[in-house]
């Protein structure tokens, strides 16, 4: 989105270039190309167009005194003629409506075959476009082997090459681009729940005993499905809200936690939830436990999101997509697990063969993770 390169102190290449210029301008022979770069930001357009001085001269005769040398002041003096020609050579429409696009400044740049006029462009579409059409017609009538190398930042980066046979491109980037972005983060979020074994395990620990009730030190089947469903909904909603909060906060850098300790605490939540199934520590208001632990897990998701990178332009959309993806993944798991658990809740094997051993296993696994994360151990082959 930034087209202008930083204006650094004169580089070595710069100085070398100056040295070259004093002796003889380097001008290699290659077919004619121009380099056009555009960025769409909302309704406004910004860009840069580099055109070989040689091509401009071929079209517009820049050598005002006719002495066979083109000087910077001659190029500057031809600026308005150059700009008029460029304005005619480039047409942009956004969703079918004409956008303005005008050259407004000219400098020089050096490409592999010599010096180019580097012209900055600015323009405006009537409204933020969803699709952009660019027509290019520069030099083709003189040199059909000319090519316009086009780079467009519009949602993503698009590139194409203008030729006489293909002098128009249409790029859909705005809303559809955002849609694609949203879907991508949604998918990443959902996938993370499946692939992130620790989060999955924590969720299962919460769900395992949800179809049971604890009375006088024994598990009994929950009497009503609606009650069980309601309990689970409360837990998952609280967990989701909490992790959405902390995930957002961490992604925006409002909350900065060392990731190793976050990961260790996530492992700790698994141990706690699993032991809680075996010997009750917290029985009432499990949703509060879900909320508190959700905060921790959300901070853990943030590290995944940072690995994906967050687009500055569509930060909110990406965060929303990722959160909804995580939540959708959880709901899918709960929806697949709960009916089975509910049907099996009266069976003794479910209580003794699933809930208890499952929780023991989860507690052990959580403990291993906890220790390896706290002490930063590498347990090769384990995970």
């Amino acid at each position: 989105m930034m087209l202008k390169r930083p204006l650094a102190a004169p580089s070595l290449a710069w100085l070398l270039l100056l040295a070259c210029l004093v002796s003889l301008p380097a001008q290699a022979h290659k077919p004619s190309d121009s380099y056009l770069q555009l960025t769409v930001d909302g309704a406004s357009l910004e860009g840069r167009w580099d055109l070989a001085l040689r091509d401009l001269h071929e079209m517009l005769d820049l050598d005002q005194d006719g002495d066979g040398r083109i000087r910077w002041q001659e190029v500057k003096a031809s600026e308005s003629r150059i700009f008029t020609r460029l304005r005619r050579s480039l047409q942009v429409t956004g969703d079918g409506a004409n956008c303005s696009l005008s050259p407004h400044q000219m400098a020089l740049s050096e490409h592999s075959d010599g010096l180019y006029a580097a012209v900055s462009l600015q323009g405006e579409c009537p409204a933020a476009p969803q699709s952009l059409e660019v027509s290019y017609d520069f030099l083709f009538e003189i040199d059909p082997s000319h090519r316009g190398l086009f780079y467009l930042e519009f949602g993503g980066v698009h590139s194409s090459i203008f030729s006489p046979d293909r002098n128009r491109v249409e790029v859909t980037g705005g809303v559809a681009g955002s849609g694609a972005l949203f879907v991508r983060y949604l998918r990443e979020g959902a996938w993370h729940i499946w692939a992130g074994l620790d989060h999955l395990l924590f969720l299962l620990c919460l769900l395992l005993p949800a179809v049971l009730r604890r009375e006088q030190g024994h598990w009994i089947p929950a009497p009503s499905g609606r009650r069980a469903f309601w309990d689970i909904t409360k837990i998952i909603t609280a967990f989701t809200l909490a992790h959405a909060l902390s995930l957002t906060a961490a992604s925006l850098d409002w909350l900065q936690l060392p990731s190793r300790w976050v990961e260790a605490t996530v492992a700790g939540t698994i141990v706690f939830a699993a032991i809680n199934n075996l010997t009750p520590l917290v029985r009432e208001r499990l949703w509060m436990l879900g909320f508190g632990f959700g905060l921790i897990h959300g901070a853990g998701y943030a590290s995944v999101l940072s690995g994906l990178g967050l687009p500055d332009s569509a930060l909110v959309l990406a965060l929303l997509g990722f959160n909804l993806g995580v939540e959708g993944g959880q709901i899918l798991i709960a929806a697949a697990f709960m009916p089975l658990a509910f049907l099996a809740r009266r069976q003794a094997w479910y209580r003794h063969g699933v809930v208890v051993p499952g929780s023991v296993l989860a507690a052990l696994l959580g403990l291993v993770w906890l220790l390896s994360r706290v002490f930063d151990l590498r347990l090769e082959g384990l995970f």
Partner: protein, 418 residues
């Protein structure tokens, strides 16, 4: 892209973007404004250059009357001649532009076809060129220019019998010297190098136009070089002398190759000083600087690196526009200057499918040896043995390839497989 771990760094967003999108960055070098407005940025033809001025005016006339065939042909011919002399593809673009009214026609006038074929030939699009030339010759078997152009493409693509037939037709049309020079290369590559050299030596130095004479002398010098004759240098110098009025890039590059083989890089620097604008010459200048560096001259290191980075940029620019990089030069660059025999071999093989001149065979043999994949050079070995090519530069390479035949299983089967 760990953007949010490095948020403070976002202050340098342009820099980050440059790393994130290398292609974007590479297309947009830094901009600057010259401090001195009087500074010369570009040398062009001065206005009193009559030839350039009339070219411009004629082009303007043609833009207003795009179907003026005789003006278009005249303009295209002049542009092609300029482009050839300067080895500058832009002029071939202007030639195409002059013919644009007829360019995409299925049945353009024959003269347009011939020029279109010439432009395709320059761009190494030999198939497209052959289609046009076949049509022209089918309708007008005595079209000398079409015959000559087709003979040259046949020669480049190693169809020597077909080339000789086209050349023979030129002789029947009374173009004796052109015909003789035309057939010298295919004859010399099919076992008659000595005879071809003798015939070329009988061409009188007087009464022949300079262009034809330079061409004949260049071909003779090349044959002398392939024969390993002691007078090769004299042959080249004789050609250069006739060409002194109008320096010939092809000839200069060929002589430069010979000088490099002799380990005389200093002379290459003077020979090609004015030609650094074309890739082929710049490559040889770089090879010369490398030889000087290898001979212990530290001062050669800076110009060598400069040439290398310029060549790299030119090959990259060509790829970026979707054009066909001339694989022979690119392969030579990869093998001799980038020390990348694998890459070189890939390009040399690809190149050898399209063109089979001795230099194309040489780079294929050399890169196959360097990449320790002698089997990959089989197409070049077959070409050499099959046609009876005489070339003292290639003999030792082929011998080394054949000696490693025992160890490379590819030699036993089909080396032509990709």
């Amino acid at each position: 892209m760990f953007f949010h771990h490095v948020r403070p760094l976002l202050l340098c967003a342009p820099l980050l973007l440059a790393t994130a999108f290398p292609s974007l960055a590479s297309t947009m070098p830094e901009t600057f404004v010259p401090k001195d407005p009087e500074q010369t940025l570009l040398k062009v033809n001065p206005r009193d250059d009559a030839a350039w001025q009339s070219l411009r005016e004629d082009r303007q006339t043609l833009l207003e009357q795009p179907d003026d065939l005789s003006l278009a042909l005249d303009l295209a011919r002049r542009a092609i001649e300029q482009g050839r002399r300067q080895d500058d593809p832009r002029f071939f673009g202007y030639a195409e532009g002059a013919l644009s009214h007829w360019w995409d026609m299925n049945e353009p006038p024959l003269q347009v076809r011939v020029l279109r074929a010439t432009i395709f030939q320059y761009r190494h699009r030999f198939d497209a060129a052959m289609r046009d030339l076949d049509t022209v010759i089918e309708r007008d078997p005595n079209h000398a220019q079409a015959r000559l152009t087709r003979a040259i493409i046949h020669t480049v693509q190693a169809r020597y019998q077909a080339a000789l037939e086209d050349c023979a037709r030129l002789s029947r049309l009374g173009l004796r010297i052109t015909a003789l020079t035309c057939s010298a290369t295919p004859a010399s590559l099919t076992g008659s190098a000595g005879r071809a050299f003798e015939l070329l030596s009988q061409i009188p130095q007087q009464g022949v136009d300079d262009n034809t004479l330079v061409w004949a002398l260049t071909v003779r010098a090349e044959i002398a070089e392939r024969l390993g004759r002691a007078d090769t240098e004299d042959q080249y110098r004789q050609a250069l002398k006739v060409a002194s009025e109008r320096p010939d890039r092809y000839l200069a590059n060929a002589f430069a190759d010979w000088l490099l083989d002799q380990g005389r890089p200093d002379e290459v620097l003077t020979l090609l000083a004015d030609f650094a604008d074309s890739d082929g010459s710049l490559l040889r200048l770089a090879l010369a600087q490398k030889q000087r560096l290898d001979q212990g001259l530290e001062a050669a290191s800076a110009p060598l690196e400069e040439h290398k980075s310029e060549l790299r940029a030119r090959f990259a620019a060509e790829r970026e526009r979707g054009g066909a990089v001339h694989h022979r030069e690119a392969a030579m660059f990869q093998l001799h200057l980038e020390n990348a025999p694998g890459e070189a071999l890939w390009m040399a093989r690809d190149n050898f499918r399209n063109q089979r001149e001795p230099l194309d065979a040489r780079i294929l043999l050399e890169s196959a040896l360097a990449a320790e994949a002698p089997g990959q050079a089989l197409p070049a070995v077959r070409w050499m043995r099959g046609h009876g090519v005489t070339d003292v530069r290639l003999e030792p390479l082929v011998a080394r390839i054949e000696a490693s035949a025992v160890t490379d299983p590819a030699m036993a089967t089909d080396g032509d497989r990709p």
